[in-house]
Symmetry: C2
Subunit: 543 residues, 2 copies
């Protein structure tokens, strides 16, 4: 494994790229963006096409990016990860020291899998899921009145919420007619109250998802929900499911109808294809679509093992990200799906990218010498065109874009208006935006000038099916892991969330104190925290 | 009006701020963040408190920011705007040349209003709304079978969608029990199909919102929805409402049950308190809460007329934005509401900020010499803490934050767990995050180090009521307009959206061509557009 873990700015190919970045490809001049280029700068795998002619690079830069991939051994690191290397660590310091094996959840369809033990555990959980779904379908698992369950409340936060929720919304067109899902995530009590209001709890299952079995928000919302079941005269233990780590405080079959396991080698933000997503998705879609999601993801995982950047979309996206972030100097990236069903997919990717790669130390604990993970944000098109695209076209800050689109709609309910369907209008707008951002436009009126040279990629698939969703998810998961390898950071821990938790605990001790005793005063023990509470106008001194 | 329209970098106070920005206030050292500072750096108006002790500034910088406000005449410009000055223009070039009078929609409660004619028109529309809502309530306006209407589908996009939708979600706790609202915005046919599926159209009103009466997405979705009514054997003209400009193609009473007007002096992204938001909000909330929203907004509008930055939260927020964007060099800003009900409020603010201030020319058509509107993004806390906060704390890019929180929950359904309520946990987490970002933390383990000095503001109110929502909305609308005055740009046009529309039209002509004639070929007329379609794998050559 050549140059494993070498810092980006110490690689010869990176220095070469810095030279090349001084005169990036100009998309606005004659010949800058040509039909030939549009056809040639395209990379296909797992049913997904990546069009990148509207990026600011040429064959020379592409060759240097290939060198960067080779020199950093990034694909070898990805393979090592899939095989079970301890990639979640910081050398020389206390760290999580874990394998990173979310890919094992979908590496089940070939024999032998790359990580035998992990794939075996995933297979066992899938078998439990199939049995559970069969019991629901055959109505051997029913409520106290012998009626089938129609609704499922999914309680989780972060990785146990955003990915599963985004996929559930994305595949709502495939939902079983008699099944519905609802989500509670925020510790905000209004979140649970709004969801529970109007549900027939007697026909509702509750899926509680927490790897550690100790997530503050999730346990709090579980208790709020159990209290609602108790008020309705129902035995919560016969309605609640658990997805948790073996041996966690939640691993207690007496409190749950069924329990499913996740494992410490799967990080929360990479857990959508584990039981964290699969239990809820199986409930609303059925078992077979869950397998299709895994198959689609596995197809992309295998394509990610290729060394040629022109046939590995995840690797190419990662390298384009480095090009835009570290060579051209752009702080953010927008992911803009032209699909209302993907409304919450950017929020999931925001988590996956920013929690993975928002890091300042290398895998040996040194301060990084270059920018790492960008700010990832986005909303669906065409909606965004009527919102923030003004800044994309004419703002003072350049935002690289990843468009996502489909050649066909999901529901196939459409109307021909003025010679074109709504789906035609949708995809035409996506392509036109990439062209407009790249090519720009001159005008005598300075307010109607478009500078152009604003880079974008276009990610296309035939239709947003379960398999496509799996491939798209894996495309991004893998892109993000590959970026982390290139930046030589640990993309699999999240030490940055600890300090806020500690400080919140202190403030909560004050608030608990005021409920216990009149005249409670925390000013001496914690002057700053106490001042925060009083400055915020919270009534701190007892009730 | 002193220095009206002078460029930011030509102001003496800005040059002074550039000096001060070389050594910004250090929040991590002893005495950097004190109880005294937390109490003193607080600004109150219209029921909203702005805490800004966790920004990187001191009294000297505050004084210079006050000078900047005075020197640029920014409050005078705001007042001129409210009085009806033609603020939407670019001097010396063809431009929209319009007044900017969204504030007139809520300047109704004092006599005389600042813009008499516009407030008079707003009052007339409110009277029509009250009559309409009364007719619904008294069941003189019913469906063909004499039943009351229970559902309303709101069709709009951009300004006609994001603001109204965000407010409807924010105030769902106040919704009339028998009334529901649904939204269709995207030209994606799956958006309309998903919403219309499962609705009882016979008891559904459809509110079509487009100022121009010619918005592609909205008219397309109106036709899709009318077709669904026709299939259900219903007369759409007796179910559809219109909110549009006088004399627009949609201003046609024969096709609509009721019509409400908006005016060309109200920009889409500033239109939430006009009939664009009010018709739908009146349907789900009733008339009085709409008035409370307007009252709350008007309170903030009046506070925004104050010249003292310490008693004008909108002005202070605008100046803090300039400090972080133009002096400390941060490209983005995150708005993080600790309230699940505000889930979509950041998407509305993203539109309002980025479409208003994503500009590269001044109000006299010169290229701007400094960065303008930042990238605004955000998601609710505590959810975000389990998603992207890792990067906020330990990433290589600093993101200034605006936290939004409330002292009480909306629904008041809560549970005491381990001595505190969920609402306690929510607000404690908000405050702890501001403290953690500012103060940071040392550690022997470099991966557990927090650099600190990451700026934030805290926006607090007692409870998210209709009045609070109005004040919060106006706070941001006014902040954004004031920023634009400071940057000397036109925050009220959106020329940057035109090029994409034009290019999409060309691609749609190809797609219409292929439906008309087999073997249609557009390669000669538009080689680039044609290549985009074929490279994307769309079947372009006829059916």
């Amino acid at each position: 494994m050549t140059e494993l873990g070498k810092d980006l700015h110490r690689l010869a190919s990176f220095l070469r790229l810095q030279q090349l970045a001084r005169t990036p490809h100009d998309l606005t001049v004659p010949g800058g963006l040509t039909p030939e280029r549009l056809h040639r700068y395209r990379c296909d795998a797992a049913g997904i096409s990546l069009l990148y002619a509207t990026q600011r690079l040429d064959d020379t830069v592409l060759a240097a990016l290939q060198d960067l991939a080779d020199e950093s051994g990034v694909v070898e690191q990805f393979l090592a990860m899939k095989r079970g290397a301890v990639m979640n660590r910081i050398g020389g310091y206390e760290s999580e020291n874990r394998q990173v094996l979310h890919t094992a959840c979908r590496d089940l369809f070939h024999s032998p899998p790359l990580a035998t033990e992990a794939s075996h555990e995933a297979t066992e959980e899938l078998a439990k899921l199939r049995d559970f779904l069969l019991d629901l379908e055959e109505e051997t698992l029913v409520n106290g009145r012998g009626e089938p369950f129609t609704d499922l409340v999914h309680i989780g936060i972060g990785g146990s919420d955003l990915g599963p929720r985004a996929i559930a919304m994305a595949l709502d067109a495939y939902r079983l007619a008699e099944r519905r899902v609802h989500f509670i995530s925020n510790v905000d009590p209004d979140d649970a109250a709004a969801v529970l209001k109007g549900l027939d709890l007697s026909r509702t299952l509750v899926n509680v998802v927490s790897k550690s079995g100790s997530t503050l928000e999730t346990l709090t919302n579980e208790e709020l929900t159990r209290a609602a079941f108790a008020r309705a005269g129902l035995d919560a233990n016969r309605h609640f499911l658990a997805v948790t780590g073996k041996g966690s405080p939640m691993d207690n079959p007496e409190r749950y109808l069924r329990s499913f396991y996740m494992f410490d080698y799967i990080g929360g933000r990479y857990s959508a294809t584990s039981m964290v997503g699969a239990v809820m998705l199986g409930f609303i879609l059925g078992y077979d679509p869950v397998i299709e999601i895994l198959l689609g993801a596995n197809d992309m995982d295998r394509a990610t093992e290729k060394r040629d950047i022109r046939s590995n979309p995840a690797l190419l996206l990662a390298l384009l990200a480095i090009w835009n972030r570290n060579l051209l100097g752009h702080d953010t990236i927008a992911v803009l799906p032209y699909s209302q069903a993907l409304l919450r997919f950017p929020a999931h990717l925001q988590q996956c990218e920013m929690e993975s790669n928002g890091k300042s130390v290398t895998r040996t604990g040194e301060a990084v010498a270059y920018p790492t993970g960008p700010i990832l944000w986005g909303e669906p098109g065409t909606n965004g065109q009527h919102a923030f695209y003004q800044l994309l076209h004419q703002g003072t800050t350049v935002v690289p874009v990843e468009f996502i689109g489909f050649r066909e709609s999901q529901r196939q309910e459409d109307l021909l208006i003025k010679g074109t369907t709504s789906q035609d209008k949708l995809i035409a707008n996506l392509l036109a935006q990439a062209q407009a951002l790249a090519a720009g436009q001159e005008s005598d009126n300075p307010n109607r000038r478009f500078a152009g040279n604003r880079p974008s990629s276009i990610i296309l698939a035939q239709r947003l099916t379960p398999a496509t969703m799996g491939a798209l998810l894996a495309l991004y998961e893998n892109k993000i892991a590959l970026e982390g390898f290139l930046w030589n950071i640990n993309s699999f821990d999240q030490e940055g969330v600890q300090l806020g938790k500690t400080l919140a605990g202190r403030l909560l001790a004050h608030l608990a104190g005021r409920r216990r005793e009149t005249g409670h005063d925390g000013a001496a023990a914690d002057p700053l925290g106490w001042a925060l509470l009083t400055a915020a106008g919270l009534d701190v001194r007892g009730r």
